[in-house]
């Protein structure tokens, strides 16, 4: 078990490294001279050359990569081109904002989704189940930014005018509602469906039937026999959805003008701010990989059968 986890961790680290390579290579391929970009129309040959030195742009690419990687490992993500601030420092707040946003979305979505899923399973093929199944199917279909816009059209200033549609620094707590709602709606459907499917699978399993045949009460059947077997797969899906959030948050932050990593990434792309692009992509991919890894480990830990079946 612990060996298996170690193997996963190793592969996770390997993947992260591969991602770092891809990100670096990709940003190297960006057209234009970084120094020229930073200086923009203020560029004079002397200033450009000085900056090139400063950014070690004259070094071979491999050296640049190693320097960059070394920095990344030590938490030094370089200096932003556009604001000449250390990237790590600059990213701290957006990262916290994004994590808070994701955290709220997870906190709102998960319990409701678990409840709806479990209740659907218990009410299988009844009207609640049908409604929930159709509802999740429909919501899951729509791209999340479309969900966001629909919410804005409906609840935002143009519609019922209940909540603000853009984030502003001095805005109140109500400006969190639409982004959190959008992300929650994006995250919840797969959890609902997985919860329902797993609960049904477990409730239909022979061991639950056997528990019933032993004369166990419904409550015991549900909590002692069914629930522990449903936790594993559901926890995995929850973790996978959280991982998805890492990437999915970009469009939502862009839509709501929310000052998180996704917004930083979009701005950085707009400004061709290479260190910032590198750092935010690496960060998002990193969160994605790590949470996926956690999902993996949960899957391993929760299910003794998986433990045996996985080589």
């Amino acid at each position: 078990m612990s060996r298996l986890i170690a193997v996963r961790l190793f592969f996770g680290a390997l993947t992260l490294w591969a991602v770092s390579l891809v990100v670096f290579a990709a940003t190297q391929a960006l057209p234009g001279d970084a120094a020229l970009q930073i200086l923009g129309r203020d560029a004079t040959p002397e200033r450009v050359e000085a900056l090139r030195q400063q950014l070690s742009l004259n070094e071979p690419v491999a050296v640049q990569y190693l320097q960059w990687l070394q920095g990344v490992v030590q938490g030094d993500l370089g200096t932003s081109f556009s604001n000449r601030q250390p990237v790590a420092e600059f990213l701290a707040e957006p990262v916290m904002n994004s994590l808070t946003l994701m955290g709220w979305a997870a906190l709102v979505a998960t319990p409701i989704a678990l409840f709806v899923g479990a209740f659907s399973a218990l009410r299988r093929d009844r009207s609640f189940d049908h409604t929930a199944s159709m509802g999740t199917l429909v919501i899951a279909s729509i791209p999340e930014f479309v969900v966001g816009i629909l919410l804005i059209l409906l609840l935002g200033p143009g519609g019922l005018d209940l909540f603000p549609s853009v984030y502003a620094r001095e805005g109140g707590i109500d400006q969190w509602i639409l982004p959190v709602l959008t992300l929650s709606l994006a995250v919840a459907p797969p959890i609902v469906r997985m919860m329902r499917a797993t609960m049904i699978e477990v409730l239909e399993s022979e061991y639950v039937q056997q528990a019933r045949l032993k004369g166990m009460g419904e409550r015991t059947v549900l909590w002692r026999h069914a629930a522990p077997n449903a936790i594993g797969p559901v926890a995995q899906v929850v973790a996978l959805q959280l991982a998805w959030l890492a990437g999915g948050v970009v469009a939502i932050e862009f839509l709501f003008n929310f000052p998180g990593v996704g917004k930083v990434l979009m701005d950085a792309i707009e400004n061709r701010d290479v260190p910032l692009i590198q750092a935010s992509v690496l960060l998002i991919a990193g969160v994605y990989i790590v949470v996926n890894l956690i999902a993996d480990v949960i899957g391993l830990a929760a299910n003794p059968k998986v433990r045996v079946a996985n080589r």
Binding site: L153, G156, G247, I284, A285
Partner: protein, 292 residues
Amino acid sequence: MSEPSTETTTGRDRGPGLFRTAWGYGRTKVGVALTGLIVLIAVLGPFVAPYSPTEFVAKPFETGVDGALFGGDERGRDVLTRFLWGGWTLLLLALASAGIGVLAGTVIGIIAGYQRGWLDDVLMRTNDVLLAFPQLIAALLVMSILGPQPWLIVAVIAVSHMPRVARVIREATRKVIEQDYVKAAEAIGLPRHRIMAFEILPNVTSPLLVELGLRLTYSIGVVAVLGFLGMGLQPPTADWGLMINENRQGMGVQPWAVALPVTAIAILTIGANLVTDGLSRASIGIDRGVQK
């Protein structure tokens, strides 16, 4: 010698196929209707549009203009016209990227699933690395480097679908090759590529179709979101995703320019997903039927 079987030898009808079974679900019909509606708009739209998509008929974000039912967009072009023009690009890009991605993923999935060994390992590890990238982030990264171009959008989305499809098809292939008819073909020495093409492929069509549906739905989403983020098709193309991006500023004044494409995308994806769901329900039923 041996007398005819006493089992029910009356020639049972062959069970209905995947499509017929899927069609049996109400949701499939609704899905086909919704998808059909949007496809119709997207395909026929350009022919019935009242204006040219780049013609100016109103002031920017002007509503209540004679001859422009839904008013003007951020430049004063006819919103209805641009809406009617803006669908086929989205559909085409989504279809192409889903098609190519599923095709490539299927080939990889079948090869990896069937060949096993180092090839499987290499393919699947590469897959893992590709999967480690959130789809949208990968697309954004590439678009920002090479600049948004239609073929690139297709390529990036296709590539991001590939590992996901490959994973599913590999699992399906694994299940198929445990079946003895594949071994039967091996025993008589049927070449591997023919086994993959004629024994395995026909038997993974159900997950394949479901995957195609899923990937198509997802492609629509990604193409649209790229347009929305300004990393998809470029102005002055009339494109639903781009329309949302362009006209989002005027949402309070002129909601149509956003509401129309947003609704169309929503209906399209809901429809496609309903069909996919019907297919997947049908395929689960059919697979169960085959096994007893």
